[in-house]
């Protein structure tokens, strides 16, 4: 790419198309985000009237104050950070290892093992049997329920497998000739080449963990110490929704927060940490990476 080739007409047209596409795409994509941010800084009652688009009409920090004044929000944040880190590390490792195993061309049970995992994507025993299982395993009411059950996911595993299959077999063979075992090949040969896909899957797992709240609600409802950030936010949201729709709880002068603005503040509060983390992972799958020049 360094030496610039003279642009042909078709390339110029192409570039125009790309620019137009990206401008439209960014506009359309950015709008709901900006709208959410604008609403999150707007007075609740005022927002009820609608018509807020890109900028708050009646500025207020009340929504954020409400969110951050919740008593368990910091406990929840700590648990969420912990579960995100632990689950990302363990789950990434487990999925990568499994992907490595099923991507070995000579592995005897390659296709049976893949099928075994593919099926798990499409079957589901239902909420109550799963609840009973976790209860019998002693997972309910503990922190472990956040990272043990979902550790291996067929989807993530298969994405990684596909990537690993693209790595030239010759690398493995030459390592084996040097006497390397499979674990060494996994650790020293395959993994370094898989950074982009590892980064991608790590991001998926982390975001999934970060956003999870249903497990906290279901398995740790009464355990305040294991509440998660998202569960606390969900509780806030559902109570605010209730407040605006119930005869018993509403009434009284200045209920200045409403579902719309609180919802927006909650969304922004959730989004922000992930957005901050993102650039660190992004470089792995945007900038590109050369696979050691080995050709098959």
């Amino acid at each position: 790419m360094k030496h610039r080739v003279r642009k042909s007409t078709s390339d110029i047209i192409f570039e125009i198309v790309v620019v137009v596409f990206m401008v439209c795409f960014v506009t359309i994509t950015l709008y709901p985000v900006i709208n959410t941010i604008a609403l999150s800084f707007n007075d609740g009652i005022d927002a009820v009237r609608g018509g807020i688009y890109l900028w708050p009409r009646k500025f207020s920090l009340k929504n954020y104050k409400t969110v951050f004044a919740m008593q368990n929000i910091w406990v929840g944040a700590r648990v969420t950070v912990a579960r995100t880190i632990i689950a990302t590390v363990t789950s990434l490792f487990a999925n990568a290892l499994l992907a490595f195993v099923v991507s070995r061309k000579r592995f005897l049970f390659k296709s049976q093992l893949s099928l075994f995992w593919v099926i798990t994507m499409y079957v589901n025993g239902g909420m109550i049997p799963i609840f009973l299982l976790y209860k019998n395993l002693g997972l309910t009411g503990t922190f472990h329920v956040y990272w043990i059950p979902g550790m291996i996911s067929a989807f993530n595993m298969l994405v990684m497998r596909t990537y690993m299959e693209g790595i030239p077999e010759s690398l493995e063979e030459s390592a084996q000739l040097d006497g390397a075992g499979y674990f060494t090949i996994f650790k020293d040969i395959v993994s370094p080449l898989c950074k982009p896909v590892y980064a991608t899957i790590a991001l998926f797992i982390a975001v999934w963990q970060w956003n999870s709240w249903f497990d906290a609600m279901l398995y740790n409802r009464m355990k305040t110490e294991y509440t998660t950030l998202q569960y606390e936010l969900m509780k806030l949201l559902s109570s605010v929704m209730q407040q605006s729709g119930s005869a018993e709880n509403a009434k009284n002068g200045a209920a200045t927060i409403t579902p719309i603005t609180i919802r927006s503040a909650v969304t922004v509060a959730t989004m922000l940490p992930i957005v901050c983390l993102y650039p660190f992972l992004q470089r792995y799958f945007v900038t590109g990476l050369t696979i050691g020049g080995v050709k098959e």
Binding site: V48, F143, R221
Partner: protein
């Protein structure tokens, strides 16, 4: 090299995580401790007062409704714990249906001490509740004040026991009700003012007035176009379109059916002449362009936004569904001074009919209430607290008015009042979590306090009500000579039958019976067809198509089963 870096990074991450997890679990173990610390501070002082009733017992409660959790160190909760020896940790429904939540509780076999579920039958099946009969008899005063023997009987299950007590809808002494917390045709006071405060009795009068007003005032002062009538149709809120027929025919809100008292039969209002007249009128207005064309597709938020602009002259709705938000918005934007507030009208299809839009009686819903589970650590104390909630005025005031001098003041006549600041605090979410503790699913009263002066609930206090009124609204009340909203409706004052409201039965129908299947299908069909009928270019054709689709649901199965229930009251 690079891999080493990654490994190091992973390791440090893992360490960080374990440290954090350590923090987490430490916080976990220390949370109750610090909680205890906070409690001991108050406990220290309270140990003398609480000594009579013993230690503070921490109960848990699960309610299958969304609600706001209060902080563990909530101030009023601590005051209550000191004096009455009980602290209740309430947990609310989040992101599940009541039935899912109840189902998982039962499957897990562990219950909180108290429970209030919309699915009580599941809990009875699971033998999760303790019978309350003996406890109730231990407190004869409570038994005799809270419900009449007939009302108690409604709570008796087939095995003869009572398992739960509905905490709502009981009025003590004289009613203080000032709002019409039910359904009505609403109209903006500026329309009534413009017409010289006429008497509006029928649906035809109502739409005539809206049309005339629109002709004379197509826009508001600021140029916003007026809109005569809108209909909210979203999901379960489609009652704004669906059930006006029963009221227009002069029947009370049995919800799913009409009860004809003269021969004790169940009638179907969906097919009644009055409903047809009502839909025909809506169709006519729709064709003339007086009905909001977005009616059947708007969401609740869009509907509220629309009302908040003040441009909608009228609609059918329940007061609690719109008034709190919309009135707040009017107040903020000054539209209340332009007469945008709504007053209710008790319309009928023909002039001179009685109407029953307003329910004066207490509506006791026997289908749900607060119950004590078999896992309860101290059922005696739990039930005693339940009784205290109903019988102890001091506790009641603490729950609903707050702390005297902090949340409300008392004037020379002994009347409670609140300053603006107090009112604002009371409505503030953060303040609520830290200070307010209503135990809102424990027994509570409407009406007049035991002191004979104040309302049990602040929102029913007359001074609070009058304070809130804008000038045009007040002028409207004065012009008609009314002091409360229900007077606008002018419903017949009568006692409803013991079966009232019938919806408390139909709400519990399941697909296990043909009637339940029919009931669900009827709902589905109406969701689709009522809008179509209103929009139909040819009303008669639309109506007859609708009737075909409707009768295919076998409504007779549903009506039959409702009749069986009604027959038990003969």
């Amino acid at each position: 090299m690079k891999l080493k870096k990654v490994t190091a990074l992973l390791l440090s991450f893992a360490m960080m995580a374990s440290v954090l997890a350590g923090c987490g679990s430490q916080a976990g173990t220390s949370a109750p401790a610090s909680d205890g610390g906070a409690a001991t501070a108050t406990d220290g002082g309270s140990s003398d007062t609480a000594s009579a009733s013993g230690e503070v017992t921490d109960f848990t409660m699960f309610i299958t409704m969304p609600g706001s959790e209060i902080n563990d160190d909530n101030e009023i909760a601590s005051l209550i714990a000191d004096k009455w020896g009980v602290k209740v940790k309430e947990t609310w429904l989040t992101g599940q249906t009541a039935s899912e939540a109840t189902g998982t509780l039962i499957a897990g076999g562990e219950y909180p001490d108290f429970i209030d579920s919309d699915e009580m039958n599941l809990l009875i099946d699971a033998e999760a509740l303790i019978p309350l009969d003996d406890y109730i008899d231990q407190y004869p005063e409570f038994r005799d004040t809270w419900f009449t023997p007939e009302e108690w009987d409604k709570f008796r299950q087939p095995d003869g026991h009572i398992y739960w007590i509905n905490p709502f809808g009981n009025t003590m002494g004289e009613t203080k009700q000032t709002t019409h917390n039910d359904e009505a045709f609403w109209i903006q006071v500026r329309v009534l003012e413009w017409a010289g405060y006429p008497k509006i009795e029928t649906m035809d009068d109502y739409f005539k007035l809206l049309e005339d007003y629109m002709a004379a005032n197509p826009t508001m002062d600021d140029g916003t176009e007026n809109m005569a009538y809108t209909i909210l149709c979203e999901d379960w809120r489609y009652f704004c379109l669906e059930n006006a027929g029963q009221f227009l025919a002069g029947y009370p809100n049995d919800g799913s059916v009409i009860v004809n008292k003269s021969n004790m039969t169940i009638e179907d209002y969906n097919t009644s002449e009055d409903t047809k007249l009502y839909l025909k009128k809506l169709n006519e207005e729709y064709q003339k362009g007086f009905v909001d064309p977005e009616s059947f597709t708007q969401t609740y938020d869009e509907y509220i936004a629309k009302l908040s602009t003040g441009r909608v002259l009228g609609m059918v709705d329940q007061w609690w569904d719109f008034a709190y938000t919309v009135n707040d918005s009017f107040k903020q934007s000054g539209l209340d001074l332009k007469g945008c507030n709504y007053v209710p009208l008790g319309l009928t299809t023909k002039p001179g009919m009685e109407n029953r839009w307003h329910t004066y009686d207490d509506t006791v819903n026997q289908a749900s209430g607060i119950a004590i589970t078999t896992d309860c650590k101290d059922p005696d104390k739990a039930f005693k607290f339940l009784v205290d909630c109903a019988m102890d005025q001091e506790l009641h005031d603490l729950r609903f008015w707050g702390v005297q001098g902090v949340d409300y003041d008392v004037d020379a006549d002994g009347l409670y009042y609140r300053t603006d600041e107090q009112r604002q605090n009371w409505a503030d979410t953060t303040y609520q979590a830290a200070h307010r503790c209503q135990y809102s699913y424990f027994p509570q009263w409407h009406g007049t306090s035991r002191d004979g002066k104040n309302a049990n609930k602040p929102e029913e206090q007359p001074s609070e009500f009058m304070n809130d009124m804008s000038a045009p609204l007040k002028a409207c009340f004065d012009a008609y000579g009314y002091t409360t909203y229900p007077q606008f409706i002018g419903s017949v004052v009568e006692t409803n039958g013991p079966w009232f409201p019938m919806y408390s039965y139909s709400n519990n129908f399941t697909t296990e019976t043909p009637g339940g299947v029919a009931w669900a299908k009827m709902g589905e069909t109406k969701h689709e067809w009522l809008p179509k009928v209103v929009m139909a270019p040819d009303f008669e054709k639309g109506w007859s198509d609708y009737m075909d689709a409707y009768s295919a649901c076998k409504p007779e199965d549903f009506i039959g089963e409702m009749q069986d229930i009604l027959d038990t009251f003969k």
